[in-house]
Amino acid sequence: MSDKASTQFALRSGDPFIWLSGGALALILILLFGLFGLIGYHAAGYFWPSQVHELVKQDGSRVIGEIKVRELVPGEQDAYRIQVKQGNRKLLGADFVWLDEASVTERRPATDVLTVERTEWGRFFGYLKAVKVGDRIIEGEPAFAALESELERANSTKAEIKELSHTRLAPVAVEKAKLVRARKSASLDEAKKSRIEARLEELSTEYTNLDAQLKRLRSDLNATAVFETSSKDGAEVPVAHIVRWYQPNKLGLFGKGSVYLSRVWEFVSDAPRESNTEGGVWPAIFGTVMMVFIMSVVVSPLGVIAAIYLREYAKQGRFVSLVRISVNNLAGVPSIVFGVFGVGFFIYFLGGNIDQLFFSDKLPSPTFGTGGILWASLTLALLTLPTVIVSVEEGLAAIPRQQREAAYALGATKFEVMTRVVLPALMPSMLTGLILAIARAAGEVAPLMITGVVKLAPSMPIDGTFPFVHMERKFMHLGFHIYDVGFQSPNVDAARPMVYTTTLLLLLIVVSLNLFAVYFRNRIQKSLVSSAV
């Protein structure tokens, strides 16, 4: 066959078009895996300690830092430039710097350099020269050991400070504020008043004592580490600001691995630092989980009851099919519309009235009349209601008639049929519905933005102060964290790896939840097939 003939044959057979349509599918798959790969690639490497280089420029000045990007200089043919994360923001002004490769005369790994992660001002790169503790100066090799021991001491002191201020000082301050408010109210007899005064006096002295203790502890955090950096003068870093330090170029695989793990642990268990661009996302994880939990508690009984009503109790007819269409349509209503409903109904109507009734002493500053975790959860419950209803209805439809009829034949009431026959068989589809609802809720951001999510919540919805669960509090959320850090952050370059990592975490949660749902659904189908046989 000649080439021409084969082309003609190919065209006539229509195969190229079939392959083209397959190409569309391939494109979808490439996009899907590309997305996962992209996020995985950017996120997984973030915690791995990278090499620190020392670059010498033509003018003799040095730049110490991690090389992040190498790319063509815009508008040039073969000139490259590199982006260096030089850290030391307090000293140098910017975290990142672009260098033309042509201007760099020497590039060497900085063997002894330390990477220091700090609670303030971001990363720090430098050579450790000495550790100062009060008047004592430890130089040379012992300085590393001293740095380690001082860091330990600082950490324990910080823990003590935290303990003291949270569990002892805070209650005193809270009680004081309460009493001061109580003193103002007009309906007080003299005896009560003097009692309050006396207690206030006590509290004041206690407060002063605790404050003095705190001051003493704080003055204990006196160690500083002295570094040589790219700038001539060197720099001092208070040990209390150090989160973690290591010598990246000296670390072996094991050492790097342990740094990696410790940073991953910090990511999932710690609070964010540096306006959310560093540290962890624990409050966001907690907020997401708690919101999803409240939502599940609300949506599962409602969804199941509604589905049972629609399929088992309601008279099948035009009305029910209308309701069913509405429920289906509700699934297609944009999530932001649910958010708007949440604002109008939950926050301003319900919340406003609750404030009027129970929290009128705090008005005009709202308690429930503003966004909060309860309202956000209820909004999402409404949003995911159709998912649960549809899923449970499918499950109900799949339960064979005969099972029910057998139960009726044995004299069971409808209620007994429901609880003994239908509900147990319904379990997997209820679970599927709930998991799908959770997966949807975990990834939903738009309605939360207007019903109570914040970029940084000062306190968690559950904590040690009475009544322990604070449904009215604003909360953090993984999805919103992505939006906020990626788009509202003042330091986008520094924040980007954090966004990728958070994205990976969210993606893992959502995808695994969905896989669970698929698994359960398959099991239902299988069990139905086997019961039919």
Partner: protein, 817 residues
């Protein structure tokens, strides 16, 4: 709940004690009771859910309705003050305009300037016992009377009114009397008492005083007098010491008067025909009294023949706007006490009243025929030039305009005509919102401080108070959807700009750009996703081995579950900056798809049919993934190559310079791809279901008739499933319309009306997410955002219902066939 209660022993007892009927019946009763209870409980739950679905629509509608509820202007109270105003001896021709009325913010006390009796009187006007007012007051009781300190034989000739009760009274002897009316509210418990405080400050002689020998000069001469707007607040004014001798010293009454709030600038039209600008400068010194220097200058209005009838000074004292009896409007920059070039504009009828709306960029003018017109005020700071341009004509009155009153909250103003017609207008939209006839004999009217009421003073001495309910004048159908001429713009435009820097900002609530943005984003998303998804569905349903299909379909469904915030983040932060460099590659993608699939096909053909690879069911799709990846890389490479070749490596600059196209980094292409990515799985899944359900018989028949597989798929399968594909596209459309995070993150969110693919837009959904947290509860913006949410709801509901019914019909057709 119910489950716990089911652990009753009904069945067990029945089995054990069949002989005891009492136990049986009681347990049966319990079971039946439980059953009934459960029935009610479940029904209740069902109704609750149905109700809550309805509630979503209801709550949104309830918040939107006030936006369109008509403005109400209803009589509240009316009482006779007991003293007639009306024309009297020695009064000017238009007597009423000398009398002015002000109201406290609680609408409790009205203060009236009575020119005839030279008195300032305050009345209680509140309804006794109503909402915080004491019940023992007497309505209409004059609670304070203060005489206006005029000289012997002197009469009032003009009044300049300012916001919050600051007046300047002009006299027949060329002097002005500053007057301030303040109200203080004191509370004892829930009872509120408002006390008026009327204070005259030291009189200012515009020209040196002439002995009171010839007093009649001022009063006999006359013509249109009026009051003008402006505001005052000053701590006692020192007497003027300097009066330049260059100016005419003839005795002249003050016919028209206007002043700046600080009273540092006073402009007066005198009966001698001169118009004076008095500018006072104070230098505060640390020691001793403030130094005051006064300059007087004359405004050259030689081009205007007829007497001045109206004067306005802006609150910063920099601009003077006025009108004359022959219908000429004029404006001048009077910074530094000297007038710059005087701008004049002939309008027609005799100008009877003027007022500056909030923000002082719009002038409303009322004339003898009852026309109400607004003019835009423009100024060139550097050249001391001012100009006026006509904006809107409002609904005319049947008689000459008497007075205007402007709101201090928004661009609302009221106009009152001689025949007693009162109308409420909104300056931005040029619309008249409400009107009411009150009968002839009206003198003056004023809007309350909160713009929630109007007080009208009548010649008979009656004071009428009307309640005005006008919460959302900014939102009418016209302002929401049609172009509006805004302040400072040259023509009518569609603009969304909800908040500005100051209280005087004119909100621009055109929903059209947002609607446009929503549809634009959807269009680009569908442009990308529909062909890809439908082709992929066709392939999956018709040509893919079912073993592979069972893996691929859930994968694509998983794609639908990806949080949109993730897609939006990648679109905005990863794709957008990269697209910058590889713009041409995007346009090569369709080509790369074709090339890639042809490469894959050719490679597949090279595989010997006996090899294990050829028997592998996933072979074609694996080869395709490889081929398309190759094609995409080729497109990226070629794209940058062509860009170097044709555009010198910078296509954005080339676009701007040759085609005038502005390129935004976060543009519609980015949104199209990102949102397309979110929509693809939806369209794919539903189309695939429909394509798969096309009866096998049809396909077999087509193949038997000699059509090849592609012809069958394209001409038989696709048309039969087309309603299903239509419904899939509709559902995808619905999803794209409401998508929030992707458009929020992947566009610049600028509310433009421009179909260009290279710039962004602002969608309704993203707009809600951004602006609702900042919108005050119950405000106009809040309700408009609810309106956009309602539009989104309606859009998606209609689209979903449509697609659902199409799908149902299709299913029935196949079931029947």
């Amino acid at each position: 709940m119910g489950q716990a209660e089911t652990k009753h022993k009904g069945n067990g007892e029945e089995g054990q004690n069949p002989s005891s009927p009492s136990v049986l019946s009681s347990s049966l009763m319990r079971r039946l009771l439980l059953d009934t209870f459960a029935r009610y409980f479940v029904s209740l739950g069902g109704y609750f859910v149905i109700f809550s679905i309805l509630a979503i629509v209801l709550v949104i509608i309830v918040e939107v309705i006030p936006l369109f509820s008509p403005v109400s202007l209803i009589p509240d109270t009316s009482f006779a003050s007991g003293s007639e105003f009306g024309a009297g001896g020695g009064m000017p021709v238009v007597p009423g305009e000398l009398n002015a009325i002000v109201l406290d913010e609680y609408r409790e006390v009205a203060t009236v300037i009575d020119a005839k009796r030279a008195e300032v009187r305050s009345y209680r006007i509140a309804i006794p016992g109503a909402d915080g007012t004491p019940s023992n007051i007497k309505q209409g009781e004059a609670i304070q009377t203060e005489a206006i300190p005029l000289l012997e034989g002197e009469t009032l000739t003009s009044v300049s009114e300012a916001k919050a009760g600051n007046f300047l009274l002009g006299t027949s002897r060329g002097a002005v009397l500053p007057l301030s009316v303040k109200y203080t509210a004191s509370f004892s418990g829930d009872i509120r008492t408002v006390t008026p405080e009327v204070r005259f400050l030291e009189r200012i002689a515009l020209l040196p005083e002439v002995p009171a020998e010839s007093p009649s000069a001022g009063t006999s001469e006359d013509s249109g007098t009026s009051e003008t707007k402006s505001a005052t607040e000053v701590e006692g004014s020192e007497p003027s010491e300097a009066a330049p001798g260059s100016l005419s010293q003839s005795l002249a009454g003050v016919d028209v008067l206007s002043h700046s709030p600080s009273r540092e600038i006073i402009v007066a039209a005198l009966s001698s025909g001169k118009t004076l600008i008095r500018s006072e400068k104070r230098k505060r010194s640390l020691m001793g009294p403030a130094k005051v220097s006064v300059t007087l200058s004359e405004l050259d209005l030689s081009s205007i023949v007829a007497p001045i009838s109206e004067l306005n000074v802006t609150s910063n004292g920099q601009l003077l706007i006025g009108g004359s009896a022959d219908g000429v409007l004029f404006a001048a920059d009077i910074r530094g006490g000297e007038a710059g070039e005087v701008f004049t504009l002939a309008t027609g009828g005799t100008i009877r009243a003027t007022a500056l709306l909030l923000g002082e960029q719009t002038l409303v003018v009322g004339d003898e025929e009852g026309n109400v017109t607004s003019y835009a005020l423009r100024r060139t700071m550097s050249e001391k030039k001012v100009s006026l341009r006509k904006l809107h004509s409002f609904e005319p009155h049947g008689d000459a305009i008497r007075s205007f009153s402007t709101s201090s909250r928004n661009k609302t103003f009221t106009s009152m005509a001689k025949n007693g017609e009162l109308a409420v207008h909104y300056g931005t939209s040029g619309q008249t919102l409400a009107d009411r006839a009150l009968g002839a004999g009206v003198i003056d009217h004023t809007l309350t401080l909160k713009s929630d009421g109007v007080a009208i003073l009548k010649e008979t001495g009656t004071i009428d108070v009307l309640a005005l309910d006008n919460p959302h004048p900014e939102a009418t159908f016209r302002t929401l959807f049609l172009p509006v001429q805004y302040e400072g713009k040259d023509e009518s435009e569609l603009i969304w700009q909800s908040t500005g820097g100051s209280d005087e900002f004119e909100p621009k609530f055109s929903v059209t750009p947002l609607l446009f943005g929503t549809l634009k984003g959807t269009l680009y998303a569908l442009l990308f996703s529909v062909p890809v998804a439908v082709l992929a569905a066709l392939y999956t349903s018709q040509f893919m081995p079912s073993r592979i299909k069972r893996i691929v379909k859930p994968l694509v469904e998983l794609m639908a579950a990806l949080p949109s915030v993730v897609i939006g983040f990648l679109g905005g932060l990863w794709l957008a900056p990269r697209l910058d460099g590889y713009l041409l590659a995007v346009f090569l993608f369709p080509l790369s798809l074709i090339v890639g699939s042809i490469i894959a096909m050719s490679l597949w053909r090279q595989v010997p049919s006996s090899s294990r690879v050829a028997k592998w069911a996933g072979g074609p799709i694996a080869f395709l993934v490889f081929g398309i990846s190759f094609g995409l890389f080729g497109a990226v490479y070629l794209g940058s190559f062509f860009e170097q070749l044709f555009f010198g490596g910078d296509i954005q600059t080339a676009l701007r310079s040759t085609f005038g196209i502005v390129y935004d980094q976060r543009n519609s292409i980015v949104v199209g791809i990102a949102m397309g990515f979110a929509v693809v799985p939806i369209i794919f899944t539903i189309s695939e279901d429909c394509l798969s359900s096309v009866p096998k018989g049809l396909i077999a028949a087509s193949l038997a008739l000699g059509a090849n597989r592609w012809q069958t798929a394209l001409r038989v399968v696709l048309p039969s499933a087309s309603p299903g594909i239509f419904s899939a596209v509709m559902i995808g459309f619905g999803r794209a319309i409401g998508e929030t995070m992707i458009v929020l993150m992947a566009t610049g969110n600028t509310p433009l009306i421009d179909l260009s693919a290279f710039n962004g837009f602002r969608a309704m959904s993203a707009n809600i997410a951004v602006e609702l947290p900042e919108a005050p509860h119950g405000g106009t913006l809040y309700r408009i955002l609810f309106l956009t949410a309602f539009l989104l709801f309606v859009f998606t509901f209609v689209v979903n219902t449509l697609s659902e019914s199409v799908r149902l019909r299709l299913r029935k057709k196949y079931e029947a066939g």
